[in-house]
């Protein structure tokens, strides 16, 4: 059970009141074998808590089985969670009657992963966007039409061209824009984006991300942005929560998470992303995380990440770690969290590379080279340990900084 040990995290902005507060949310599904006999329980979401503040974007990152989509559905009320509280705009959504829930829904909307799946193929664009207006307001037909035009403009679709079209006449990016127009039709307080750009082309993804930002500033929206990798949420999030097998592994300000992740899983996720710097053309070769993800049907005892964690100890199997605050607003649930790699930063790396004039540094995988860019790196940088880390859990394990770390399994 990951519970917040310290006081509630400090808000990112000056606003004290969160618009949404999720507390101890639990969602489980019963799997049935043949004949309807209960075969097992899928622990989809296990005791997750976090707050969301007005105007902020919270990125939720997790891989398959992390429970992030289940979490989204539980928050929005589509699947009733087994237990827990979801406080939205001051009201507990769980305790609401169906009618009140419907009214509360006015303020939360969702954009889905499949742009075509979220639009009825037989409806026209203007009907799709007008649907929430029909369901929640008493606007007249003319008013609705006006509002639809307004919304289409907002998302960058010319109403004269697109209003009468059907989904099959749209591209993926255009369809997603329609879905977004529908989501903001009622000017909600919160929009949940469930992998909203994952199925779009690269260039279109950038367009839609820009659109999200634009709407955020123009309409004062808050987002929960769910994605399966950290690169996608990076651009758009103020805070990022990393989920693993139904639990919150880490949550904190986006910059911090990327610069100084505390939880080994977060680090592993970051290392798995093939990075490419467009300016210098330098590529970062991913460091794979060994082992198979455990099944949510049978999560490992204690810390659920321990079967793949290079820092795992006996304690990790016995005691479940709790969310501990490392810096203001930055929490991680790990018995042996990573250290802050101090002054290391992208800028310093770039500068050092430029100053020495070497655009490419070659690190042969067999060398245990002290630092990525040769000897020019800031000398304060802690030198990576040789792979005997388990003896010294507080020493920084900088996975990915050396070619050695590729053999992650050897460290166990």
């Amino acid at each position: 059970m990951t519970t917040i040990e310290t006081t509630r995290p400090q808000p990112v902005s000056a606003e004290p009141e969160p618009i949404m507060s999720v507390q101890n949310l639990v969602q489980e599904f019963v799997t049935r074998g043949p004949g309807g006999v209960k075969a097992g329980v899928v622990h989809a979401v296990s005791d997750v808590s976090f707050d969301l503040f007005p105007g902020e974007t919270l990125g939720i990152v997790g891989e398959t089985g992390s429970g992030k989509s289940t979490l989204a559905r539980a928050i929005i009320g589509v699947d009733r969670p087994k237990s827990g509280v979801v406080r939205f705009l001051g009201r507990d959504l769980m305790g609401l009657s169906k009618r009140d829930l419907k009214r509360a829904r006015k303020d939360i909307q969702m954009v889905y992963q499949d742009p075509f799946g979220s639009l009825n193929p037989r409806w026209r664009v203007e009907d799709v966007v007008a649907e929430p207006l029909l369901g929640h307001t008493r606007m007249g037909r003319h008013e609705r039409r006006e509002r639809v035009r307004e919304l289409l403009d907002l998302v960058g679709l010319n109403p004269d061209t697109y209003a009468r079209r059907r989904p099959m006449e749209l591209s993926g990016g255009q369809a997603q824009r329609v879905a977004i127009a529908r989501a903001i039709a009622l000017n909600p307080a919160l929009v949940i984006c469930d992998e909203a750009i994952s199925s779009l082309d690269v260039l279109i993804q950038a367009q839609v991300l820009n659109l999200f930002e634009k709407l955020r500033s123009e309409l004062g929206l808050s987002y929960v942005f769910i994605a399966h990798d950290l690169a996608t949420v990076k651009q758009i999030s103020d805070r990022v929560a990393v989920m693993h097998l139904g639990q919150l592994a880490e949550i904190g300000p986006a910059e911090e998470i990327y610069r100084a992740p505390r939880h080994p899983y977060t680090k592993a996720l970051l290392d798995s992303i093939p990075g490419l710097d467009p300016e210098t053309g330098i590529a970062k070769r991913p460091v794979p995380l060994a082992g198979e993800p455990p099944s949510p049907l049978n999560p490992p005892s204690g810390c659920r990440f321990r079967t793949r964690c290079p820092r795992a100890q006996d304690l990790c199997a016995e005691v479940e770690p709790r969310l501990v605050e490392h810096e203001p607003g930055h929490f991680a649930s790990c018995h042996f969290p990573l250290e802050d790699p101090a002054t290391f930063s992208v800028e310093s790396l770039r500068d050092s590379i430029r100053s020495t004039g070497t655009a490419a540094t070659v690190v042969a995988p067999d060398e245990g080279a002290p630092g990525p860019a040769g000897a020019d790196i800031d000398a304060d940088e802690p030198s990576p340990e040789a792979p005997d880390v388990p003896d010294d859990p507080d020493a920084p394990l900088l996975l990915g900084q050396t070619g050695e770390a590729r053999r992650g399994t050897d460290l166990l």
């Binding site: 260039l203 798995s272 794979p288």
Partner: protein, 358 residues
Amino acid sequence: MTDLATETRRPETIAVSSEPERQPVLTVRDLHVTFSRAGRRIHAVNGLSYTLRAGRTLAIIGESGSGKSVSVRALMGLLPPSATVRGSALLGDTELVGMSDRAMRRIRGNDISMIFQDPARSLNPTMSIGLQITEAIRTHSDLDKKAAADRAVELLKLVRLPAPERRYHEYPHQLSGGMRQRVMIAIALAANPKVLIADEATTALDVTTQAQIMELLADLQDRLGTAVIMISHDLGLAASYAHEVLVMYAGQAVEHAETNTLFRNVRMPYTKALLGAIPQLTTVPHSQLTVIGGHPPDLAALPSGCPFAPRCNRATEKCRLDKPPLDEHEPGHLYACWHPYLPGSEDEPVPVDEETVS
């Protein structure tokens, strides 16, 4: 901290590329694929050429509609009857274009094989995975059942599937996505093909699994000397694992070079745009990404000039009228552009207002 330390894929590759001993295993020359649908002709691939050498990985990058998937399916003979393939694709000494179905069936899986994006769909859910691999082995060899089964287990070990003997009897639904993809790789490599095509093979996988699978492929390439064609839309992936990168747009190659060369000196505006669209560690959060508006051209009605011209902010009249040829403007770096980004020339593209969604 995810540093941007360069870990070039193989430090010795830069020298190796000019090694004359690396045999070309696949030579594609002027490949054209056209589809006839309802009276229209859709030009999916327009004059694609490249040479693939043993033990090397070529990444073909493009968005949807670029023709990357269609081009490799043409090589494998996996296109529907409405497709017409012209040009040449020499696998060793064998010409793949125009090959009969029967001959193709012998080659497919044997000399050239493919793994797909969705392993769940490519594996038969009603057969145990061991049986599927064994079947693949026996199709291309004379081994008896027992020998084939043993080889199957060997293959499972090769692809680092945990507990291979047990998995042999399991069914696809009992395996995770990453494991299924490993099984796919095992099947694809059963006959030790010269060329392995990975068509968006890791797109549907988690990042951590993707890293594992790519690592596995790299390792297998080292061990078996297989040439790999990697189809993807992910530039970062290509940069990390490929020796050469070929960028496709509207059915044609628009830039092609060794990985390092290409990414350090991007010339073609489309490639630059692709790079610019990737959210980077260093971009200011909440800033607007540099994007280009518009969408890829209609393949049934390709413009006469450069296909990228309508969206390119460096385009001139010449670009619209005259299609730039793919030439080796610099040693080892081919591109098709009249106004490439050359060092010294005006650098950053002006961010086009992304509202111009036409």
